[in-house]
Amino acid sequence: MIIAFDELKTDYKNPIDQCNTLNPLVLPEYLIHVFFCIMFLCATEWLSLGLNMPLLAYHVWRYMSRPVMSGPGLYDPTTIMNADILAFCQKEGWCKLAFYLLSFFYYLYGMIYVLVSS
């Protein structure tokens, strides 16, 4: 996603194409995240769940305040080229990537810890 926005900014890729490729990916990402949260809930991993709750809330808010669109997704090709929105989307992408990476290693650590300790 970050790469995509970077492309949009530097490589001048067509915003319509870009939005069409990105928009179908938004909901799956959110759903996977929700799925993870539910799994944590089932496993009563309260710490992990607590770490993920803010992002979950953010996702819900973000999707509620999306522009008027008929299809799924967040990104509107007419406004995406606005410098502020593009910068915001890019920043959001970076932050989420960092969060996912960190949490991945944390889960990995947790799994190994559990395996070793059991």
Partner: protein, 1209 residues
């Protein structure tokens, strides 16, 4: 979606199909299944039936097509079948009721046939009339999968087919067999009938342009003159024989098209009516390198000689052909050396030019460059991405010497009420001199630019502190003039006209932090396609551009020596091409800096073939008219049809111009205007869920060939629907049909709509609650309700279609949703609230006048605009009607002279070591004559590093315009109250910044620099605009329309809309009058917009841009009433009066001269309303009194007090 995807394709064509910026070159556009119509058919109806019925028929029965009581079932009519040869044209849904019945040939019924409206009979049956009544086998119904190779194919949507190619070779005629391929009539499915037909049609079409028109791949060679190229490379889009023929056939044509001169230069220096310049004749055929400059408004064919430059559409019809010749001394920005009046003998010219071809031939095109050239629009119009490879060198070269020149603003102590912010006299004698003596070389430039370092020994006039609370009379006597950039005289003389290109800060701050401190918005206001009375046009096979950033050469580049120039945007050093060494104006060699490109900030190039991705499209106009009951009630059809009839010949275009009509109520009606018919045929498609085009090739017809049919239709159209009872309105399907109809070519769609769309896709619901209008704190529903119109607009934009919306309605129409169709397809919105032909005659006149302008104004098709700026600056946001395709590229399917753009800028890197920055807007478009043209504007501004200088260069009108656009954005994305707060804060912040940063001595009161003294007034005016006002009852549509206007009107008209001009006109004198063309035009002073300025014994004219109000006081001098208004006394003034009588009195002449002078300054004709003190229109007059207090808004003085409180906090 792959359809649009292909159309939009990526910008930089490396490795990607070169179909980016709009026109798509490959003839088989990758059109998705479901979109295409195979229209390889040349003639759908080889033999046309004689007209079935007269157009005007007694109402109630529509005698169009035959009414046939055919059951809505599918009938398969094999070709061999001989029995009643009725082929049923079947609608898309096999079982669905809406079935269009195609009436086949051989119908034995009497020629008068009835058309029954779908609403009357239960299953909506559309009947349409078949071809050739007498020729039974003419229409062959073909089942799926079958194919008759040479047939013309009618294909249903939903089956993939290559699209229509406009540029069909004339030899393409198919045998007179029409095949209507329907979706599986027999097996009741919709089979993928891929096989033969589409393929054949497609290949035939590919062949057609290849033979007749498209430039072969070698055409890039024509980039280099003199190389051995087949002659056709100069008119590579020879698809339109009528177009290129005049040039070929013209005996004196030695310029571009004759085979023997690959690049001839011709100069047309005379206005059309002028004698052919001797220059032309001096360029002989066979000259190796040529050059065409046409510096005339070229209304008609300029001179028989100059066939190189097509009579351009440059000036619109209403521009009087100016008699200015290209005498540089006389024009404002012209080149200094006047062209020699007598052309040098040909021999000399030949001498000068003959060395060219070998040199040029030697000049090898580097492979990479060639690839770059071929890179379609990216190469054409893109900025290079490797700009970073070339570090800025200007700082080194330019900043060498700073002789201490007179301080910038020293002798600018002008009288306080001078209209200009800065006097126009330029205080740079030394710099100017040195520059004039040696126009070359960076060192001189550096010394010249040294004059810009502003020493603040004495505050300039623009910075004079004004206490706004004490000084009341802030308005200048005349119009507010933009500040003049503080540049050396030479550069300023070459700078772009502020009417075209304006910057909010004429002194650019050096860093973003400085800009943030100044709290002023940085941005550009553009009016790129403005009607110009004088525009140099250059025909050249080589358009000199920077290799890395693709900037066009402009007056602000520096020539390092004879052979090299340095780009002023990216600072790359480029070679001067051999061809450029020759100066066609002075006819001398070795003076590249005297070329017109380097002498004119605004110039137009006739683009060679590298700038096309497909042959230039013809002018295509489609009118989509609402004919539902509500629409007929308003009576607008009469006006529109009559206006079109009157102005049909004024439609810009050439012999290829096409026109078409669609009407809609709950169904969509097409009009077959095929040549050969004796009357227009109406085809009804009632299946609005899945709209399709019944006969794709006969609905858009050549205007010149089918003019009579078009006129017939326009005469008959208003009567056709007088008794209609259909109240539903299917705008969405009609727009989809228009999109499908135009997508092969692109063009302009004009939609006339009178009510909320209620059926089909894009149906809307009323969202406005009238009771909440005045009371609501925040205005909801400023955003579109559906994204259907936005999506369709994006599709249109990809296919080079622009949609102009005319909304004539008294009720709520949800303009916020509807306007999207125009906003993203670069169209325009026109709104006539409560239009009615009887009740509102002023609106009728307004519509007539607007339509006249709309139809006859200049138009550019398939255009893109790129805005480039010096490295370090970057574009933040665009405002206007367009689709942003990349960070600096706007896609504009159409461009018209009445649209403006705003660009917000930000400073990304510090502009240290730079003396000046430049902005360049390049607009690539296809003229209505089928020429590809590039209009380039370049603006150069100085860079400063102190707050005082920033404030000194602030352009208050441009700032207001940009603030308005930003506020519109804010009110859509956030809320209206946010936007209002932002406007107020903008004023507070800038004044506070001035107080803390720009002011040396603290003064009491609310202090503003002289150049910004009008900012609070303009902000108050904006807050009381229809767009932003609260508290007053404002209809949502009117509010949204005002917002649209704020975004896309050019600044000059925008300012009048924000802050109208008020004049007292009962005592006009000739004192200070100006004289234009034997008319004396009085110049009354502009008054403040306050009721205190009105007096009962006077008469006042208010000019709000689109409307003029003449307010007559109760005790107005009887002299004025009788002499100007032509009525005996005050009480005899009629309630509605929109014309001033032509009386033969001095007062009347003066008043009318003044009013017509005001009207001439703008494209659309403002209606004059004469109002008395108690007229109903008084409210709309009084709402413009922005300095006064209303129930819900502060007065100007109260606002100032509020500001003072905030600023001094």
């Amino acid at each position: 979606m792959s359809n649009t995807a292909a159309g939009y394709n990526s910008q930089n064509g490396e490795g990607k199909p070169p179909c980016s910026n709009g026109p798509i070159q490959n003839p088989v556009m990758t059109q998705a299944p479901g979109q295409g119509y195979n229209t390889a058919a040349v003639t759908m109806h080889p033999q046309h039936m004689p007209a079935k019925a007269p157009l005007e028929q007694p109402a109630g029965q529509y005698h169009y097509g035959c009414y046939q009581s055919a059951p809505p079932a599918s009938m398969y009519q094999g070709p061999g079948q001989s029995a009643p040869p009725v082929s049923v044209y079947q609608g898309p849904g096999q079982s669905a009721p809406p079935v269009s019945v195609y009436q086949g040939p051989g119908q034995s019924t009497p020629p008068v046939s009835m058309y029954q409206r779908p609403g009357q009979s239960a299953p909506p049956v559309s009947v349409y009339q078949g071809p050739g009544q007498s020729a039974p086998p003419a229409s062959v119904y073909q089942g799926p999968g079958q194919s008759v190779p040479p047939a013309s194919v009618y294909q249903r949507p939903g089956q993939s087919a290559p699209p229509v190619s406009m540029y069909q070779g004339p030899g393409q005629s198919a045998p007179p067999v029409s095949v209507y391929q329907g979706p599986g009539q027999t097996n009741m499915t919709r089979p993928p009938s891929r096989p033969l037909q589409p393929h054949q049609g497609g290949s035939a079409r590919i062949a057609a342009p290849a033979q007749s028109s498209t430039p072969p791949p070698v055409s890039s060679n024509s980039f280099y003159p003199g190389s051995q190229i087949p002659p056709h490379s100069h008119w590579p889009y020879g698809t339109s024989p009528p177009m290129s023929q005049p040039s070929v056939g013209s005996p004196a044509n030695h310029v571009t098209s004759a085979p023997s001169q690959p690049s001839g230069y011709g100069i047309q220096n005379s206005p059309p009516q002028g004698p052919p310049a001797p220059l032309n004749s001096s360029v002989q055929p066979g000259q190796p390198s040529g050059y065409g400059i046409q510096n005339s408004p070229s209304q008609g064919p300029p001179a028989p000689l100059n066939s190189s430059v097509q009579p351009g559409p440059a000036p619109p019809p209403f521009n009087p052909p100016s008699s200015q010749t290209y005498q540089p001394g006389r024009q404002p920005f012209g080149p200094p050396p006047p062209l020699r009046p007598a052309a040098p003998p040909t021999g000399q010219l030949n001498n000068a030019a003959t060395p060219l071809p070998p040199a040029a031939a030697k000049q090898e095109v580097p492979g990479a460059e060639r690839a770059h050239i071929h890179n379609s629009f990216d190469a054409l119009e893109s900025g290079g991405r490797n700009a970073a490879q070339h570090p800025p060198q200007m700082g080194r070269a330019v900043g060498l010497s700073y002789p201490s020149l007179p301080p910038g603003y020293q002798n600018m102590a002008a009288p306080p009420s001078a209209p200009g912010m800065q006097p126009r006299s330029q205080p740079y004698p030394a710099g100017a001199q040195s520059f004039q003596q040696a126009p070359l070389g960076p060192a001189q430039l550096g010394s010249a630019l040294g004059g810009m370092s502003l020493h603040q020994s004495q505050p300039p006039e623009a910075l004079r502190a004004i206490n706004l609370l004490q000084e009341r009379n802030l308005l200048p006597q005349g119009p507010v003039t933009p500040p003049v950039p503080c540049l050396p005289q030479d550069l300023q003389r070459l700078n772009c006209s502020p009417e075209v290109f304006r910057c909010t800060l004429t002194n650019i701050p050096q860093t973003q932090s400085l800009l943030n401190k100044a709290k002023l918005p940085l941005g550009l206001l553009l009016h790129p396609f403005r009607d110009m009375s004088q525009l140099p046009v250059v025909t050249s096979s080589t358009i000199v551009r920077c290799r890395s950033c693709r900037t066009y050469i402009n007056p602000f580049v520096t020539f390092l020596d004879q052979r090299r120039w340095k780009c002023n945007l990216c600072y790359r050093v480029n070679e001067v091409p051999e061809e450029f060494m020759y100066n066609p104006v002075s006819r001398s060699y070795g003076e590249p800096h005297k070329r017109p490109e380097v002498q004119n900030p605004t110039i137009e190039f006739i683009a060679p073939s590298e700038y096309m991705l497909r042959p230039p499209q013809p002018a295509v106009y489609l009118f989509v008219l609402d004919v539902s009951h509500n629409a007929v009630e308003t009576g607008y059809l009469d006006t529109v049809c009559q206006s079109l009839l009157d102005s049909l010949s004024l439609l810009p275009g050439d012999t290829r111009t096409k026109i078409g009509f669609i009407t809609f109520d709950s169904t969509v009606h097409f009009y077959n205007l095929q040549e050969g018919l004796s009357q227009p045929q109406m085809l009804v498609v009632s299946d609005i869920e899945d709209i399709f085009i019944p006969t794709p090739d006969s609905l858009l017809v050549n205007l010149s060939e089918c003019k009579e049919l078009v006129q017939d239709l326009l005469k008959g159209l208003p009567q056709m629907f007088t008794r209609t009872l259909e109240t539903q309105c299917a705008l969405g399907p009609a727009l989809q049909a228009a999109f499908k109809l135009l997508s092969p070519t692109g063009g302009r769609v004009s939609v006339f709509q009178t009510q909320l769309p209620s059926v089909g896709v894009g149906a809307l619901k009323s969202r406005e609650d009238p009771n909440q209008r005045a009371s609501a704190k925040d205005i909801p529903h400023l955003t579109p309700a559906t994204d259907f119109y936005k999506k369709l607009a994006l599709d249109c934009s990809g296919q080079q279609i622009a949609v102009d919306l005319f909304l004539l309605s008294g009720q709520y129409c949800d303009l916020a949703s509807l306007a999207c169709i125009s906003k993203y397809s670069a169209g325009g919105v026109h709104y006539y609230p409560s239009y009615h032909h009887l009740h509102n005659p002023a609106q009728v006149e307004q519509l007539q006048r607007d339509l006249k302008r709309y139809i006859s104004r200049k138009i550019g098709f398939e255009s893109v605009m790129r805005v480039r700026c010096t490295k370090g600056l970057s574009i933040h946001t665009f405002h206007g009607n367009f689709f942003v395709r990349s960070t600096d590229l706007l896609s504009l399917p159409n461009i018209n002279p009445d649209s403006g753009f705003a660009v917000q800028m930000s400073i990304e890197e510090n502009l240290v070591d730079m003396q000046v920055v430049s902005f360049q807007a390049a607009l690539l478009y296809t003229s209505s004559k089928g020429e590809r043209r590039i209009r380039v504007h370049t603006l150069c501004l100085p860079v400063v590093n102190s707050m005082a200088d920033i404030f000194a260069g602030a352009d208050v009108q441009a700032i207001t315009g940009l603030l308005a656009s930003m506020a519109v954005d804010r009110s859509v994305t956030a809320s209206l109250s946010d936007a209002r707060d932002a406007l107020v804060n903008a004023a507070i912040d800038s004044l506070r910044a001035y107080r803390s940063g720009g002011l040396s001595v603290q003064q009491p009161g609310l202090v503003a620099p002289a150049c910004l003294r009008l900012l609070p007034l303009y902000v108050v005016a904006l807050l009381k605009q229809k767009a932003f006002r609260t508290g007053t009852s404002t209809r949502l549509d009117e509010r949204v329309f005002a917002m649209c206007q704020l975004k896309y009107q050019p600044l000059a008209y925008l300012m009048l809309m924000i802050h109208p001009a008020l004049y007292r006109v009962d005592n006009l004198t000739d004192e200070g009058a100006i004289s234009i063309a034997d008319r004396t035009i009085p110049q009354p002073a502009i008054l403040q917009l306050s009721v205190e300025k009105l007096s009962r014994d006077g008469s006042f004219l208010m000019d709000s841009g689109s409307v003029l109000y003449l307010w007559v006081g109760r005790n107005c001098a009887p002299n004025f009433i009788t002499q100007v208004l032509g009525v005996p006394n005050y009480t005899a003034i009629p309630q509605t009066m929109t014309q001033l009588p032509e009386l033969d009195t001095a007062e009347s002449t003066r008043t009318r001269a003044f009013i017509s002078w005001l009207r001439e300054q703008r494209p659309f004709y403002p209606i004059l309303h004469v109002i008395r003190e108690e007229s109903p229109l008084k409210a709309s007059f009084m709402q413009h009194m922005v300095e006064d207090r209303t129930e819900s808004a502060l007065s100007y003085y109260e606002f100032l007090l509020h500001l003072q409180q905030q600023v001094n906090k």
